[in-house]
């Protein structure tokens, strides 16, 4: 069965390490914060200028001056710091963030990612996504493997305008965990109950099944 959003978030959370500074994009990536393993400490960076983003506030803590990059009200943990947008993107662009998680419309075998614009539909803007993919070394893209009509989103070549070129090496879809290298997708892990055949069928770009491919386990 395809992974649920929560299961995808749980799988991504396994990539965290103690002491990591992490940037989580909107959507599924935000859920990753709920699955940080017990005993592990990570600090969440919010691109609008907050390092040490906490949970949503209680009613009485609500503060219009404390928001995250998705414009939701949040809190700051003890030991947080707040700074300007130039400082925020300095730490992003300068490669200081240990793990970046964001969504995508398409990825391809060259590691290109398209996530911000669908020509002909409303073009809202890229926000911080282009800086995030340009600045980070350790990026995980979370996305559905194919559209509802079964069209692959893991392509030979992205058809949509790019967010970044040649920058993606790790992809988690609702069907699999894959790596991108040598201009191919490498299938490393399958979602429980999902066959390798189905994954091959839904991957347009060249796919290699890793020798040590295994099925993900969830509690």
């Amino acid at each position: 069965m395809a992974l649920s959003r929560e299961q995808m978030a749980q799988r991504v959370a396994k990539e965290m390490q103690n002491g990591f500074y992490v940037n989580l994009g909107i959507g599924i990536p935000t859920l990753v914060a709920n699955y940080v393993p017990d005993g592990m400490d990570v600090m969440l960076q919010s691109e609008n200028g907050l390092l040490g983003m906490g949970a949503f506030p209680r009613e009485e803590e609500l503060d219009a001056d404390m928001i995250n990059a998705g414009k939701q009200t949040v809190t700051a943990i003890k030991g947080a710091s707040i700074f300007s947008s130039a400082e925020s993107f300095g730490m992003i662009r300068g490669g200081h963030v240990d793990l970046t998680v964001l969504g995508a419309f398409e990825v391809d075998v060259l590691g290109n990612i398209a996530s911000w614009m669908i020509p002909g539909k409303l073009i809202k803007g890229m926000g911080g996504a282009m800086d995030l993919v340009a600045g980070a070394d350790n990026i995980i893209v979370t996305m559905t493997h194919a559209s509802k009509s079964g069209q692959s989103k893991l392509l030979k070549q992205c058809s949509l305008p790019l967010t970044g070129a040649g920058c993606i090496k790790h992809v988690l879809t609702d069907l699999a965990y894959l790596e991108i290298k040598e201009e191919k997708f490498w299938l490393k892990e399958t979602a429980p109950g999902v066959t390798v055949t189905e994954i091959i069928e839904k991957t347009e770009g060249e796919l290699v099944v890793a020798d040590d491919v295994f099925e993900m386990q969830f509690m």
Binding site: N48, A55, K71, T73, I82, S84, K124, G125, D131, A134
Partner: protein
């Protein structure tokens, strides 16, 4: 020192000299830390043909969205403008131009503009529509595009507290683009929740030194929340 007293008591004095087709740089992220009083004054003045540089364009009916409604904006330079239905309408009707700029590049354009750096190289946007038509260069085996910095005729900024000389501190994430905007305007207006006497702000804790600020004005702010999210416990 009276010669450094920048306090003004009315917005029209602060924005005197703003005329059609000028460039205004505005601080704020979403509705957080937006210069509400300056926006209302620009609306009242009816200045048109403005190029507005700001991360977002408010929402329909609030923030910079007010200037959009009055058709005062000819061009927006922003990283994300998805929250205004009116924005899309004006864009499709050819009444509004937008230069979508990556958020980090936008922040750095303002910072560099205020700091006398005419252009800088960044990897952000290389190989994407943002990089098209721009010079690029390789450094240590990686490609970067050349982006020019931004300055404006006016910068409108929201601070938390300022002293009478124009030293400013910002509150929480209402800081965002404000310190950068403050440096990049020929004339910078900072509107604040409290004005204090010189010496009351700790020098080493000041976010924007007074040198950048022309006018300080005490404002009153609605501080609307765009997405009210609370923890259910």
């Amino acid at each position: 020192m009276k010669g450094f007293d920048k306090v003004t008591h009315n917005y029209s004095e602060a924005l005197a000299g703003l005329s059609d087709n000028m460039t205004v740089i505005a601080g704020g992220f979403g509705l957080c830390g937006i210069p509400e009083g300056c926006i209302d004054e620009i609306k009242r003045m009816g200045t048109t043909g403005l190029t507005v540089v700001s991360n977002n364009c408010g929402i329909d009916g609030f923030g910079l969205g007010k200037l959009l409604e009055e058709r005062q904006i000819k061009k927006m330079v922003s990283s994300y403008v998805g929250e205004n239905a009116l924005f899309e309408q004006q864009l499709l009707a050819g009444e509004l131009e937008v230069e979508l700029t990556p958020q980090g590049t936008l922040a750095e354009k303002m910072r560099a503009g205020g700091a006398g750096i005419p252009a800088f190289y960044t990897a952000t946007g290389y190989g994407t529509p943002v990089g098209e038509g721009k010079e690029s260069r390789e450094f240590k085996g990686r490609q970067y595009i050349l982006e020019e910095s931004i300055t404006g005729d006016f910068a409108i900024v929201k601070g938390w507290k300022a002293d009478r000389y124009g030293n400013v501190v910002y509150r929480h994430t209402a800081q965002n683009f404000n310190p950068l905007a403050a440096t990049a305007g020929k004339i910078t207006i900072v509107e604040v929740e409290e004005i204090v006497e010189p010496g009351e702000l700790e020098p080493a804790h000041i976010h924007t030194p007074s040198i950048y600020v022309n006018h300080v004005i005490l404002g009153s702010f609605e501080k609307r929340i765009e997405q009210r999210t609370v923890t259910e416990d």
